[in-house]
């Protein structure tokens, strides 16, 4: 009896970006609870590590927020499609400044991350925050130390709002940061920011809310990023069918959980396209 059960149990192993991890971990849990025959799991190892593992064929699916290039996908025989959108927010540790109170502009954030603005009472920051008493505290920038889709989303944003950023540093899962400390994945960045006075970092929104770290506001700017799923074309048919079933379930029934965790589900037209293209 037990052996029959074991034989029919399908385990789908996924890993990758920490950006969608809170959501994926909830989805896989809910799905595995409701479907006895399938066990899906997702490990938060970072986008770059996820890509490396799916290329090596050690995973059934991977998550990344920095998409692979079409050329790479073709060469490796991997399908890639978006799952959900999420936002990246600047987080700060400034004594006496509550969440959402500090106002920054895209350009100022870029100049802080470029190391040009170095103290919190800089005139340009003061000009946007006339009612705050900004301390004469050095700014400590905190960024990711591992290859990260969150970094890709964040640096794409900085490249869009600052020409200097675009020409000097650019965007990517790993960039050469001019200043700052390096944390491990989203929780590591949150941990560093919460422990270093005067620090500023960036993280996926859910992590900031969970860790109760004050968020800075950038008016009229939402730093949005898509997170992608990667599936190998040569995945065993039985596993592929189960994985397709799971992904369809995420699109059809996972929207509420996604919104609860502050992610943004895809439009129905996008979902339909993904279903017909990748989940037949």
């Amino acid at each position: 009896m037990i052996s029959i059960l074991l034989a029919s149990l399908i385990t789908l192993n996924g890993a990758g970006g920490s950006f969608p991890a809170p959501l994926y971990q909830k989805w896989t849990y809910q799905y595995s609870q409701a479907h006895e025959e399938v066990n899906v799991n997702y490990q938060s190892v970072g986008s770059s590590a996820g890509i490396k593992q799916i290329k090596a064929g050690t995973l059934d699916f991977a998550g990344t927020d920095a998409p692979m290039s079409d050329e790479d996908l073709k060469k490796e025989g991997i399908a890639q499609f978006p799952m959900v959108a999420g936002s990246v927010v600047p987080i700060v540790n400034l004594p006496g400044v509550a969440s959402g109170k500090l106002v920054l502009s895209g350009e100022i954030v870029a100049d802080i991350f470029r190391g040009e603005i170095r103290v919190w009472n800089d005139p340009r920051i003061k000009a946007l925050n006339p009612e705050l008493k900004l301390p004469k505290l050095p700014i400590t920038v905190v960024h990711r130390g591992d290859g990260s889709g969150t970094t890709f989303v964040w640096t794409s944003f900085l490249s869009r709002v600052s020409e200097k950023w675009a020409s000097e540093i650019g965007s990517g899962a790993i960039v050469t940061w001019p200043v700052g400390l390096a944390g491990q994945k989203n929780p590591g960045v949150c941990g560093m920011v919460s422990r270093v006075k005067g620090s500023i970092g960036y993280t996926e929104l859910t992590y900031a809310l969970e860790a109760k770290i004050p968020v800075a506001t950038i008016p009229n700017e939402k730093v949005l990023g898509l997170t992608y799923l990667l599936i190998r074309d040569d995945l065993a048919p039985r596993k592929r069918a189960a994985l397709n079933e799971y992904v369809r379930w995420c699109f059809d029934f996972g929207g509420k959980t996604a919104e609860e965790l502050n992610y943004i589900p895809l439009e129905k037209s996008e979902v339909d396209l993904i279903k017909t293209t990748y989940l037949k």
């Binding site: 130390g145 591992d146 790993i174 050469t176 390096a182 270093v196």
Partner: protein, 272 residues
């Protein structure tokens, strides 16, 4: 017959460790060969670290490794010497439980030190070279103390007593008798501490700040070879991966050198 079997078995076991050590070196060398070929000796003297453009230099991590380890020694050595002096001279009923407590410090897994450091050291000193050195100094303290304790106990009582007999003060006995008698053994203890500090990974990864560049101040973030390997290895491909093996090779050579020095001094100090 059985003795011959036993002999060859033990010989095989003993040579296995040597073969293992040698094969580690060989694997590290060949896996890192692409890095050495690409950058040459310049690899040792630049601190660029740019995985996206494929430019790498070892100096950032190497300097972080040396700075944190040496600063840790600077903090730990006087403490260890004082503790060892006290433990070797205090009444047995208190010296022996306290010595054992110091040895217990060595049993704490390094990741625990890291967790403690993040919450109790970093809020004061940031994620920095200094925080890493402080954690390292606590971690190597029991090793240095243990060796120094043995060295100091081995100073013949006759020597000490005759110095006291000549009117030497306690300080003079320490300075002129114990230090000069045991200097090789004490140096051996320091090298053992250094060896451990150089290779420490988790605790440093937690508190150093993870920046692969030459630190310009005590409170700058930095990284060490061991923690850079732990950070990057899971996702590194191609040249980046080869560079990490080259870093591993450098670390292993450093450790070998320190080990040899430690053995040499301990032997001269007649302590095994």
């Amino acid at each position: 017959m059985s003795e011959r079997v036993f002999k060859s078995l033990t010989f095989a076991a003993a040579s296995l460790t040597v073969v293992l050590a040698a094969s580690f070196l060989i694997v590290l060398w060949f896996s890192g060969f692409e890095a050495w070929k690409t950058f040459g000796l310049k690899f040792l003297f630049t601190d660029v670290w740019n995985p996206s453009s494929g430019e790498f230099g070892a100096l950032g991590a190497l300097s972080g490794t040396l700075f944190t380890s040496l600063l840790a020694l600077l903090i730990a050595t006087p403490l260890a010497f004082a503790a060892a002096m006290w433990a070797s001279d205090a009444p047995k009923w208190i010296a022996s439980p306290l010595s054992r407590a110091m040895d217990m410090l060595a049993a704490i897994p390094s990741v625990i030190f890291g967790m403690w450091g993040i919450d109790f050291i970093c809020p004061h000193f940031g994620f920095s070279l200094f925080s890493a050195s402080l954690i390292l100094s606590i971690m190597i303290l029991p090793y240095i103390t243990a060796v120094m304790r043995d060295v100091i106990t081995m100073t013949p009582d006759v020597l000490k007593e005759s110095a006291y007999g000549l009117g030497a003060t306690r300080f003079e006995v320490v300075k002129d008798v114990i230090l000069s008698f045991g200097k090789n053994g004490l140096a051996g203890g320091i090298f053992i501490g250094l060896g451990r500090a150089l290779g420490e990974t988790m605790a440093v990864l937690f508190v150093a700040g993870g920046l692969n560049m030459i630190p310009s101040g005590l409170f700058d973030g930095c990284t060490t070879i061991a923690s850079a390997l732990a950070n990057d290895f899971a996702e590194a491909e191609g040249l980046h991966r080869s560079v990490l093996f080259a870093l591993g090779f450098i670390l292993l050579m450093l450790e070998f050198a320190i080990q040899i020095l430690a053995q040499l001094y301990l032997k001269r100090g007649k302590i095994k």
